[in-house]
Symmetry: C3
Subunit: 270 residues, 3 copies
């Protein structure tokens, strides 16, 4: 199985699927091609929250604002999975979620050719363009890794151990018994603003209230526990505090977007 993720929209992902299909008839499953455009941190969040639900697979993920510069192409081996994409950190949180801190990172050799024509099944991949490495580098690499398996990374000269890779870590919240300061990591398509403050902070105290910056909101088990149009704080499916509006958009109601800081406070617990 090969999963595909990108910020490409449409129809560029199809060229990647075509190239892969020239190599292998592996199952292709789209994760998303609408990841937040050229936003490494939000995209890394979504990959981390999504890829671990899959059985072992090759995960192609291309959010690549530095395409055509000297950034490397990498394959990460982690927990039986392989992640393929640019060396800009976007794959790292998902890799750690899949393999813990024992992830292994390989650099992918490429051949710098800009001549006309494409030799699509040649290996290692050639840089047929400087603007679409999803098609020219990452798609053939994902197909190749699927073909040789994660163990095969040790035996293919196109892959070399890579120590100087780019990392990416999410900001850590500061949590005490009655207060927590964190960051909005992402906003989903429903408009829920997802923080990095873990569920343990509220300890299941649904039904009460919680302070969010200068306002107070109900702390509810799920969206429909408040009236339609009312704001709430809940524990989202990512296990973190999430700012929401029942049948509305929390990001708008709370005026908080990805990257913003957020402060939570609880009243005294009896």
């Amino acid at each position: 199985m090969i999963t595909l993720s990108s910020d490409f929209g449409s129809p560029y992902p199809a060229a990647m699927k075509g190239v892969i299909s020239q190599w292998t008839d592996a199952r292709l499953i789209d994760v998303s091609h609408d990841l937040p455009r050229q936003d490494l941190r939000q995209s890394a969040f979504w990959l981390r929250e999504t890829l671990p639900y899959f059985p072992p697979a090759v995960h192609l993920a291309v959010i690549d604002p530095g395409v055509g510069t000297d950034r490397d192409a990498v394959v990460i081996r982690a927990g039986g999975h392989a992640l393929v994409g640019p060396d800009n950190g976007v794959l790292l949180p998902a890799a750690r979620a899949l393999g813990g801190e024992s992830v292994e990172i390989f650099r992918v050799e490429t051949r710098d050719e800009t001549a006309e024509g494409t030799d699509r099944t040649h290996w290692p991949p050639r840089l047929a363009s400087s603007t679409f490495h999803g098609r020219d580098v990452f798609a053939p690499t994902a197909a190749r890794v699927h073909e040789i398996g994660t163990d095969g990374l040790d035996d293919d000269d196109a892959f070399t151990r890579h120590d100087g890779y780019e990392s990416l870590r999410f900001p850590e919240p500061v949590v005490s018994e009655s207060a927590a300061t964190g960051t909005i990591l992402a906003v989903d398509d429903f408009g829920n603003a997802i923080s990095n403050v873990p569920a343990s902070f509220v300890d299941g105290a649904f039904g009460g209230a919680i302070q969010v910056n200068d306002e107070t909101a109900p702390l509810a088990r799920s969206y429909a526990h408040v009236e339609a149009g009312q704001r709430l704080v809940t524990v989202g499916s990512h296990g973190n505090l999430e700012l929401a509006v029942n049948q509305g958009r929390g990001t708008d109601a709370f005026g908080l977007d990805a990257g913003d800081d957020v402060h939570f406070a609880l009243g005294s617990r009896s």
Copy 2:
């Protein structure tokens, strides 16, 4: 085959595909993840108009504004198909289209656990979150139903007959020989406003005119039978009268949206 429908946008559907892929390598076909958000009636319309074109399959469909409340999870057996989703009525019109009035409805047992970690292949499903039952309940249920087949619903203790289910029916039009009063059931991505007034009302009288509320419009066999930018009434692919603009948006031109009433009148027929 398992089809997937939701109002999730991106990338939440991928977590459902990952979970299903841990159970089965059934073909996964996306119906839509852009169903009208939290709109049960429009979503029910699209499911009814789309799922019957498939061969027998398991249809996972999650439009679930009540997630995390005490609404049930259901599986509906209908005409060799199985539909899996929340007990809020959204599946019923499609189920009736597939199986007539002889649909059979089962309630899905779940285990209320909120501990850390996920035991993804455990059955029956556990409520790992209160906000994403598509991932935690409906995806494993769809995989399970695919595994045991629709006959297996009778033998698995997690499924029990359910009589008190939620239903949903579309409004019925009032049609006489020369006039019809109906409702706009849905607006498609082209902006066509689809009513519930059946084609039989106009009896193939294309080329003439029809009155729509206070205006008159051509009654045309298809969009391009009027000039680009001109409004028309046609019989859409759903078999109902549809308000359109050739290469434009009927919903805007006629000022009618999903849920609005609409009145049609024909001149005398010679």
Copy 3:
């Protein structure tokens, strides 16, 4: 393998997938269902730039503003591939890219029936609606062609050689050593405005400047060779000059959209 392309958005493509699945369990791969709506030239560009990356396949592509009129349905045999869609020219550039000028075009017979009910596996296809031939004509045709193979087109009475087909050609640029006048063929989802002026015009002279209409912009190997927010001209993955903004939208910055003319001039080359 059957690929699917359209300007349908959601959920109409799923009805096509359902119909096809009644005929065959061929792999279904979405190319795009967000092709520029009812825009034959831009859609033809994207098909030409995407389909050749696939191995031999049946390509269903429905951009069909004339649905329900007397335009024909066609199958084009080209280089081991088959393209299925309306006879309005939208398939031709991709067909020529796949098969050169030796493309062979067949007209598809249909049966004009508007009775209630659908006999989905009947062949040749019947006109169950006048507004959704993707579902009623092109999907069964794609499934049929997949079943009989491209050689089978010669032996099935539903397919007849078609000489009077609609064509579509892109405008040709006028290129001299120091100046080029072309057209913006398409704007991609990143906002890159893609011209028809070939890379050979700039001959790899990245690092210098280029005049675009009345302005001057850097000529850069890729987007990130200029600062975020800065405009540039590059050679895109289609092999043509492309107007872009690093992490922004070139179409907005340059004020140029699909169909607009564009004039490039180079300084003296040393």
